[in-house]
Subunit: 326 residues, 2 copies
């Protein structure tokens, strides 16, 4: 049995970590919730929130960091030095060579004896579980991804903003924005995170960089367009791939059906395909709309995935990493 | 001066045709609005709606069909035989060899002396004005499109459903659906129109078939994933292309800037890019987020377009076709 702590326990991801620990029956001895002094004393899921102190945090067996990259950069090493295994949900350490970046269904073995493990970007984790079985069997020459990302990726205040500002629009008013660059109700925003010199946003490049690291293939060619849409907490992604070997759609469906972390939802006749409506709150990522691609002929494939941004995209994957270590 | 009629004048597209005729200063002698007997007598934009009769319709100079494909199939030829030029907004005749399918900025010359002209699918028209300048200058080996389509594509009742059912969700209820296969508020639906044998939907194949016909290039390789999202009336599209010639992004921006029907909205530093919020109600399609593509190296390009589904995607393009003939 283990002593576990969550830093940033009052945020959207932190709360889901508590739920995932329970749902996955993590062998919990004691669970401690840390947040800022402002939130100390609050009750979350039956636990009283404590003010964060790095020294105390380091005394747990596992510490989930569900906080900003700046916070992680400041405290993660100190917590590790205190003796805890740290699973960091931020992007602070994802690209450091000696920090494993892990989707347990794919590269749990990369953890080794690391005490600091990075949890991937939400869009990446959701994509990776569906893409990996195809990568293993057919190889991937090119991957092109367009995302339909939920507001939860910007945290609980962003979800609240979608709800509140949608009501403003329905009441005939003009929506404002605090958590996005533009009003999100009945709109979309083709920018997530800052623009890079190459014209991609950082969110888009994260999907490229992180998929390469998780697959252990630094040559993988992947291009992403990341778009925020007015949904709450499930990310969807339209994916086009060129494969190295000739692709067989039925075989792909079979692989997805058998793969862990992803469920095949692909029955056009009965209008079954991945959707936020169904994927929200589910552990497994939904994958469907598998079809031979019109552009890459026998070596191409299109599909659509949808997964809960707060679960496989964040909290669930983090707890799965911890579970792989116990 | 010309006598003009609109069939289906009470629908979302029909009403926009009236507005576009005025905005484009179409040389109108008389405008007649037709609809079903049920709508006869209604006043729309200052005109009294009359019940449709094919014989009477044929006596106008131009007739806009803003009705179902079934209606067009039943009456279009009869109206043409009566002497009118018919511009059909449905998909009924788009794929017939002797019926020109026209985006005036691209292939107005294909009209010739045709009396029946097809107006393209909304997603196609919005894509085409931005894609064509690139096609002409650099050639296109592959085009991959993911769409973010507004509810207006399914008509005014679908837009009303988005509004009404969103309120139901905000009030804590469960959304229902009449115009979509699933509830649309805070959801997306990766199916528009019926599934084809190849696993694509008809909407997706329309984009392939119609772009080929408009560009006059039956070999163009184009793959589309069409997704309905909870927005009102502007369609967005994430586009990845492989070009035949080495691509120069600044040159592409210059071409888009100079091209008719499309406006360059591409200033990442100042967070300017195409969005429904700005493209709604505008004649020009917005194109931006131009960047060299990470997958096709020197021969690839990513960009994002957004255009009003009821304007360039329907009514505006139809009126532009008529204008090209006067």
């Amino acid at each position: 049995m283990y002593s576990v702590a969550i830093c940033g326990a009052t945020g959207a991801v932190g709360i889901e970590v508590i739920r995932c620990l329970k749902e996955l029956k993590f062998p919990l001895d004691k669970l401690t919730l840390y947040a800022s002094a402002r939130s100390a004393g609050k009750e979350i899921e039956g636990y009283i929130v404590e003010e964060f102190h790095a020294e105390a945090a380091g005394k747990h067996d596992f510490v989930f960091l569900c906080v900003s990259g700046d916070f992680s950069r400041e405290y993660a090493q100190q917590i590790v030095d205190g003796g805890a295994v740290v699973i960091d949900n931020s992007s602070a350490f994802r690209y450091e060579e000696n920090v494993p970046l892990v989707v347990p269904e794919i590269n749990a073995d990369s953890i080794g004896d690391s005490k600091l493990i990075a949890n991937p970007n939400c869009t990446t984790a959701i994509l990776a579980v569906a893409l990996y079985p195809i990568y293993k069997e057919f190889g991937l020459k090119k991957v092109i991804v367009s995302t339909y990302q939920a507001t939860s990726g910007a945290g609980q205040p962003a979800m609240d903003e979608l709800k509140e500002q949608t009501q403003v629009v329905l009441d005939g008013g003009e929506a404002s924005c605090e958590n996005f660059a533009y009003p999100i109700p009945f709109n979309l925003i083709p920018q997530i995170d800052a623009f890079q010199e190459n014209g991609y946003t950082k969110e888009e490049m994260k999907v490229t960089w992180e998929t390469r690291k998780i697959f252990g293939d630094s040559d993988l060619k992947l291009s992403c367009t990341a778009v925020r849409i007015p949904t709450f907490r499930a990310h969807s992604e339209a994916v086009t791939v060129e494969t190295e070997k000739e692709v067989d759609i039925d075989r792909v469906r079979g692989l997805i059906d058998a793969a862990p972390g992803v469920v095949l939802v692909d029955d056009p006749t009965n209008q079954k395909y991945p959707m936020p409506l169904n994927a929200t709150g589910k552990f497994d990522v939904e994958a469907g709309r598998f079809r031979k691609n019109e552009v890459f002929d026998e070596y191409g494939l299109d599909f659509f995935v949808c997964g809960d941004q707060l679960l496989k995209g964040a909290a669930l994957n983090a707890v799965q990493i911890a579970k792989a270590l116990v």
